[in-house]
Symmetry: C2
Subunit: 358 residues, 2 copies
Amino acid sequence: MTLILSNDDVERLLSMPDCIAVLEEAYVELAAGRGISRTRSDCIAPTSYSDDAVYGLKSMDGVVPKLGIGAIRINSDIVTNPMVGNTQRRVKVPAAPNDRYVGLVLLFSTDNGEPLAIFPDGVLQHIRVGATNGLGVKYMARQDAETVGLLGSGWQAETQLAAACAVRDIKEIRCFSPNKDNREAFSARMSEVLEVPVTPVDHAEEAMRGVDIAMCGTNSIDPIFFADWIEEGMHLSSIKKPEIDVAAVRAADRVAIHTHDTEPIIVVSKGAQNYEENEQKSWETAKDLDFDSFPTLPELINGDVKGRENDREVTCFLNNLGLGYQFAAAGSVIYRRAKEEGAGNELPTDWFTETVHP
Amino acid sequence: MTLILSNDDVERLLSMPDCIAVLEEAYVELAAGRGISRTRSDCIAPTSYSDDAVYGLKSMDGVVPKLGIGAIRINSDIVTNPMVGNTQRRVKVPAAPNDRYVGLVLLFSTDNGEPLAIFPDGVLQHIRVGATNGLGVKYMARQDAETVGLLGSGWQAETQLAAACAVRDIKEIRCFSPNKDNREAFSARMSEVLEVPVTPVDHAEEAMRGVDIAMCGTNSIDPIFFADWIEEGMHLSSIKKPEIDVAAVRAADRVAIHTHDTEPIIVVSKGAQNYEENEQKSWETAKDLDFDSFPTLPELINGDVKGRENDREVTCFLNNLGLGYQFAAAGSVIYRRAKEEGAGNELPTDWFTETVHP
């Protein structure tokens, strides 16, 4: 049977510590060349949805032979690029029936090719981003780090905090995001969830002053963290290229990135010029950094490179691009637990396989 | 609702002439840069299936904005490379439960991102390869071409003949494949299906002597058609790079290929060295041809380049690599007809969409 799981299933079946643990194991495989990943691709086309929107069909693949799993993650997005405050945002529109987003993960067995499971990507998407930056904290932040400054109050911000708390004994968190109501509600909720006091503050700089770990967890495509804010021994953490200003990255003693797959394969239709003008900006922001020169998180975990030499160094982790590989690794845990629990809807595997030679 | 269709549905819903017509329309879009396609990727890893097999997770994407459809085609294969007669074959093993293969097409709407349909790729895979070479015949073979020589007697061979008959008034076909029983059964069956006499012959050269259209429709990864066999005015047609010997390609007056995406993105695990030795050979065979210098079928259809100047020219079409784009184009017809007919199993679209921002 092929399992159809929901985001609720994924949330129940995969904890942040478990996701961090399986990614840590899988990244060793990736660094050793046994695990493999195919760079994300974005096909960008016009859509009848609106003139200022584009359609994006995005996919990424990965295989973790040690875990017996291959995965493909697919997004079928309607995307707009409005200005929010002073920064431009990339906003996915829930345009599918019942006002829903479209993102899917398909898991396959490397033992016999079988389609094992299909589930939406939303919950896992945020857990794996958090877990990845959590591994950045684990391998780069000071051992005694106990304060976190956070920019952002959305979903990504939530998993960033959960991940930091999973790898360090965090005692205090300060949070800034442009909307006062959002940051207050977020801080109140996260204080309860994490059992660590989260204090909302009125300015970004205030959130970052004197913290051990400076985390960006936003959807901004403009820089939001600046070099002036850096203090001795700090660890900087970003979930996408543009968040940390180039000068701040340069000011760090050590920089590591997620992957040397530094840019997605982007194919743009002639009918989608608004994409060229808007969305591509996010890839241009950090253009003058030489990403190939930075070591990757898997190399840090594999012991090829040190994440930190002493307590005074400023370290910086840029989660520069996601990998289908993460969905394969974390997916293996979700699938195993789902089978143990009997979770999800079972469909005949024959619906997704064939007797005809493809 | 999201439709789950079967290979039987696809076969009933999409005729060869309809597939040729929709590809012809879609290729104009592709040549004009409005249609877009992401190069096929192959992630190759070890498998527990057997020591001489590899696991392959392959995917290709494409979007045809004019038809409102994006598609991704996924294969999850167990692959072996045995010798059959004097030629090495790439053989997919039906290793999934109930001895089945795993290939899927997912269709999405560019209007709202919605997942429209999921179906196995096997039948469409063969129809679209046939239709593509059929368009090669339409734009490159002589108008009065009426005889076909065919190498191969499998599935691909079948759709090659159907496609040739859809675009030219074919009166006589000769078929060779190494196994006598196979070629005889195939010829008898195709004579009935096509209402054109198909004669099995004992040697490859015999099949090709004096024909107007020389078609290769095999899974050989060694050359099977040679320069000596070429005659004035002939059209040569191949479904994969290695079939037509390099000298024969060079002897043609005009050569066109399917796409300038001449090589898939191949990512090989360190645990899958047997792939390196075997399967990659198929990409090396035609290495000394400059594929970038050949025009593409979409350029021929769009009128950018002529397919044939006079009746004496020897023309050659190499279907060098498949495109996810073909699955989007043909998928649009399959989906529209399925909705009209009420075909397939309907699943709640909510199973494949989400409220969580991905």
